[in-house]
Symmetry: C2
Subunit: 320 residues, 2 copies
């Protein structure tokens, strides 16, 4: 196959366009086929990376649906259209998450059979396989049938992205017994128990997001978002506190050096961002403070998803 | 006032009765008035701590409501009855959390005006004031009006337990803007905005549980339980990974020594357990793996709650 072309939203993110353009250049140097989408005057020297022009920018705090509806010439909307029109095979944005979702959904449409797209986030767990958490924020309220589809899509994603042959899928709840949890969780438990294509390990708890209990954890977008941010907050706090303690007099610098590999493994910039599963195209959403390195990681994730045929695998999974 | 008498469930917890009885003895030696509740033959030498006899034990995995209904002579039920009957001023249990809640609710009843009791957990945040999270698991589904009461009760608890004069209360959601979140959160935001007795800081996110953004974080029991366990899992993972890295050759033991104060501050055994707010009596629920030290901490929390008049302060707050 021809190399996948990855459209990068040049204007999205706290450090756009500078870090985004730098990331695009680095990705091109690393051999990826990339194209930037944004205001040609603002992107500056792209080092030969082509630019799809877009005159508008969606702000990080704008209302997503309205922004996508009114800013038809925004970099986000044009990036999604590039995928829809075949000018690119995938899009990457570090911009407004809700707007990126809305742009992808409205322009690319849904995969046939998918009720609702979900955001899948990869949580690194050094020493064990990473945990794919979905939905981590796309759908505030969910039905049991959607959670079943999240399980099916999450299992495909765990295979494609993390190389897990038969993913173990857990349902996020407040106790391991099937009768524990909300009405949503109890009904979803029943539905997912009858599904195929993965190993259902039943209910898991918040602590299992960073354990080896499951490769995929399924939940609604409200709970998933809260849990993910609780994790991020705790890890940030813990490493900050540890580094602070180790800077005390009498502790050698070898201690901080010894933590570097762990810090690198946990660094979100090396993980490539979340993926919106269920839209008819590959859409990678990198975090708002993405550096150029985060963009390169996200491009790598997008490239691999296209090469592995993620979208058609998702369609097969929800049709099964 | 006379010293508060704290009834300790001798049979509840993974390490009962040994560690529980040891904790009761240590608490008595430290000057607290304690009484054990359990099977006199099983508790062994109590070092003079009196025992209220109870022939049955509620298992950690038993169905809470059924256990409390059928095991009328269980240590949990008898402990709650001791508070109801004035033989004790507070109860402490490291046993089945749901059953402890049910026993307290059915035997002590609710504080007048409280719709639903909630579990308040104190999350230590070294370098900032601790965060009180409620509900951390009592009510899987909640109404907006209950969340308002959780805010009122949580503010009182933050004052009594953590010494915060005017607590900042946040509502757990997936974005800071008032329009972000589930229908429950949006309506609760409106209700809490009009309340008094604390400073409402609006929506907070999962990451704020371990930041200085709020002194009290209010949510439903499903989300609260998932978030709390996500935090616990992340902290356990982080410290495990850090200690592992610091044990590598070439790192001196001074590094691990430097982390001891932090580890001690984060140690759940030093924090005394969660408190069930809204029942007509003081009920402290210590974690299942409680050591004798955790029991002493829990007794200290219970003693202080009685001395400060927590229950009548809660009644005043919800009546305001």
């Amino acid at each position: 196959m021809a190399d996948p072309v990855i459209a990068i939203d040049a204007m999205g993110g706290d450090r756009a366009p500078g870090e985004i353009v730098a990331g695009a250049r680095q990705a091109a140097e690393a051999g990826y086929e990339v194209v930037l989408v944004g205001d040609p005057a603002a992107v500056g020297d792209t080092g030969g990376v082509p630019v799809i022009p877009a005159s508008e920018t969606v702000g990080m705090a704008e209302d997503p649906a309205r922004a996508v509806r009114t800013k038809k010439d925004s970099s986000l909307v044009r990036a999604a259209e590039a995928v829809r029109d075949g000018k690119a095979d995938a899009m990457v944005s570090a911009g407004n998450t809700g707007a990126a979702m809305a742009a992808a959904l409205f322009r690319m449409g849904r995969v046939k059979g998918v009720a609702r797209p979900a955001i899948a986030t990869v949580i690194p767990v050094p020493g064990a396989s990473p945990t794919v958490l979905l939905d981590s924020g796309a759908n505030v309220e969910c039905s049991p049938a959607w959670l079943l589809q999240f399980a099916q899509m999450g299992a495909v994603f765990s295979r494609v992205r993390c190389g897990v042959a038969l993913p173990r899928v857990g349902l996020l709840s407040i106790g391991e017994e099937p009768e524990k949890g909300s009405p949503l969780v109890k009904e979803a438990h029943r539905l997912i128990s009858g599904a195929r294509g993965f190993e259902f390990v039943g209910n898991v708890e918040g602590r299992d997001l960073m354990s080896d209990a499951a490769d995929v954890v399924v939940t609604d977008g409200f709970t998933g978002n809260v849990a993910l941010k609780a994790l991020e907050g705790a890890m940030k706090f813990a490493f900050g506190a540890v580094v602070g303690a180790l800077r005390s007099p009498g502790v050698g610098s070898s201690a901080l050096d010894a933590l570097m590999p762990l810090a690198a493994e946990m660094d979100p910039d090396s993980h490539g961002g979340a993926v919106l599963l269920g839209v008819d195209g590959v859409c990678v959403i990198s975090h708002g403070s993405s550096s150029s390195r985060a963009i390169v990681s996200a491009v790598g994730v997008a490239d691999r998803a296209v090469r592995e045929g993620l979208v058609s695998l998702l369609a097969d999974a929800v049709a099964a």
